[in-house]
Symmetry: C2
Subunit: 346 residues, 2 copies
């Protein structure tokens, strides 16, 4: 069984964005009350939004199940206040729950958190509990920069975040560190802000003792860890200069990287420097890059091909990356696979 640990619902019916647009429009008019509309999306519309996209690609690429969360670029934590963020987050998480109910063999839920700049993260605990306890979510997406590209929040290693981490440890759910769309004109959402978010978070972890306080806490750094594997020597060297323990010992019981790197030389770099135990298969389809690579004739984001073609990884490494590592990083996953009636073992 091949588990793709990184998919977002990027193909939602237009009504979802219409709702969001109305919510934001109401916000801009102080005379109006908060938008209180209803979303009318049928099961058939959801099926249609997935059949020609994620489900088709799963079949074509021979991947089995996707750990699926709301569209990351649409989380928009910097828009409006905590009330608006909570409302929007609940709606997005409910959409994922409907998808999992419609296609329990294909998707497993991960939830968005109702973050808001400057609002303490314990604010996210009730929604996290709801998603894990009631909607079957096995993890959450945590945004290290709710300001959307201005980096105004304390680092992820600050005690500011601890109440959320306590709940994550208690519920046994990891977080994927994932920023949302940027409102900073210096940044491009998927081209620089996403990648910078990954690199920034890793460096925050490197300089802290967070995992002494939370030994069971686990983070997946997406997009192949941002710039980190490419600069692994730099990070090993910086840690050494700072008299920190070796990175393996300091971070690799808690920090994992996905395989959303869209060419063979990048995947080769990732797999050469990061132990296979710390790499999780992912494609982020349908996501940042939708086209076909003219150099290969295959989709850029068909990352299974790069892993299959790797001459660096052993067959055992590949098994770990494709599935068994995910069971370790998401402790609730095995139970959820069984509960959703998914056949086979990763």
């Amino acid at each position: 069984m091949i588990i793709d640990c990184h998919g977002h619902y990027t193909t939602a019916p237009k009504a979802l964005q219409d709702y969001r647009d109305a919510q934001i429009a109401a916000l801009k008019d102080p005379g109006k009350p908060p938008y209180n509309g209803k979303i009318d999306i049928s099961d058939d519309q959801i099926r249609e939004s997935l059949e020609g996209a994620q489900l088709k690609l799963q079949r074509e690429r021979g991947t089995d199940v996707t750990i699926f969360s709301p569209r990351a670029s649409a989380m928009g934590h910097h828009v409006g206040d905590a009330k608006l963020s909570a409302d929007w987050t609940r709606i997005c998480n409910d959409m994922i729950h409907r998808i999992v109910n419609l296609y329990p063999k294909n998707f497993i839920a991960v939830c968005q958190l109702p973050q808001t700049p400057g609002v303490p993260p314990e604010n996210c605990v009730p929604e996290l509990e709801r998603c894990v306890n009631e909607l079957g979510a096995v993890g959450c997406n945590l945004n290290p920069d709710p300001s959307g590209g201005y980096w105004k929040e304390p680092p992820l290693t600050d005690k500011w975040w601890y109440p959320l981490y306590e709940k994550m440890e208690e519920l046994e759910v990891p977080a994927m560190v994932h920023v949302t769309g940027t409102c900073n004109p210096a940044m491009h959402t998927t081209g620089s802000h996403y990648i910078n978010g990954d690199t920034t978070a890793f460096m925050q972890f490197l300089t802290s003792d967070l995992f002494e306080d939370f030994p069971a806490l686990k983070f997946v750094i997406p997009h192949g860890g941002g710039a980190v594997p490419y600069h692994w020597g730099r990070y090993r060297g910086i840690a050494q200069d700072m008299k920190r323990p070796p990175l393996k010992e300091l971070l690799l019981n808690n920090v994992y990287f996905d395989t959303c790197v869209y060419h063979q030389p990048g995947i080769d770099c990732l797999t050469e420097v990061i132990p296979a135990d710390n790499i999780l298969f992912a494609s982020e389809m349908v996501g940042a890059v939708k086209g076909i690579d003219p150099e290969t004739g295959h989709y850029f984001d068909d990352t299974r091909r790069y892993i299959d073609a790797s001459i660096i990884l052993t067959d055992i490494d590949k098994e770990k990356i494709f599935g068994t590592n995910a069971l370790k990083v998401y402790p609730l996953l095995a139970k959820q696979i069984k509960k959703q009636g998914i056949a086979g073992t990763p």
Copy 2:
């Protein structure tokens, strides 16, 4: 001849930092006039600061000449106002000029610019002219984020920057895109802010037509291009989805990457995806990583070893990377090499 295109004066005598500290202290006391002290650093102190560091490493590593600029992390464009930035920049550039006069065979100058957040970049033109016309500088360091980690400036592709680019084209000097130390607690100067700055700038270039307006403008993106080569497939794919020309055509007549990547797999990734014509040898010694890699027994930042050991690069590629590319990117370099009496040809 091996040219290292990226070195900063990180080992300056304490008196330089003392001056800066006094300058900042005066700034904090509105009752005081701006600091107007003198720096007393002798030629012998400068020699001492370099002999056991950059010069020793040049000899040990068999590199010949370093394109040398003031300490990047100390540029501190976010500190104080334009007057303070101009004063500090002039002092730092004068220090580099003294170094070049003391060791004309070992160093060639690149200048710092007196940037200040929110102040139009044409403000930097007089200092750029002074450094190029009077001090023999062959390039400048351009900070895309003078706010020091909050990214408040327009992207490098905005017309905001055009007056500076006009002067750069006229003077025939390239810029290395290089941020300074960060004042944002979410960022680490050399671990995330530097790398993010590189990635951000590249993505700004990718989404713009800057080089249609300035066909002769050249930028070196340091630190191996941030995350860019590792995610080269992502960038090719994003450009394609946006109906942009292929990256080679769109950017590679104007954008170059240095080799400040501190391990063999990273250098291999860089050299596999970026044409050798667009790679410039650099080490940034003495810089972000000062230690010896226990896995190799050599300095992390001894990047010559990775190029020498490369089985991807041909001998001709290596010649380009070690020297001849620099002559192309820095049009004033050949003349300056001759003027400074440096023997050999790159």
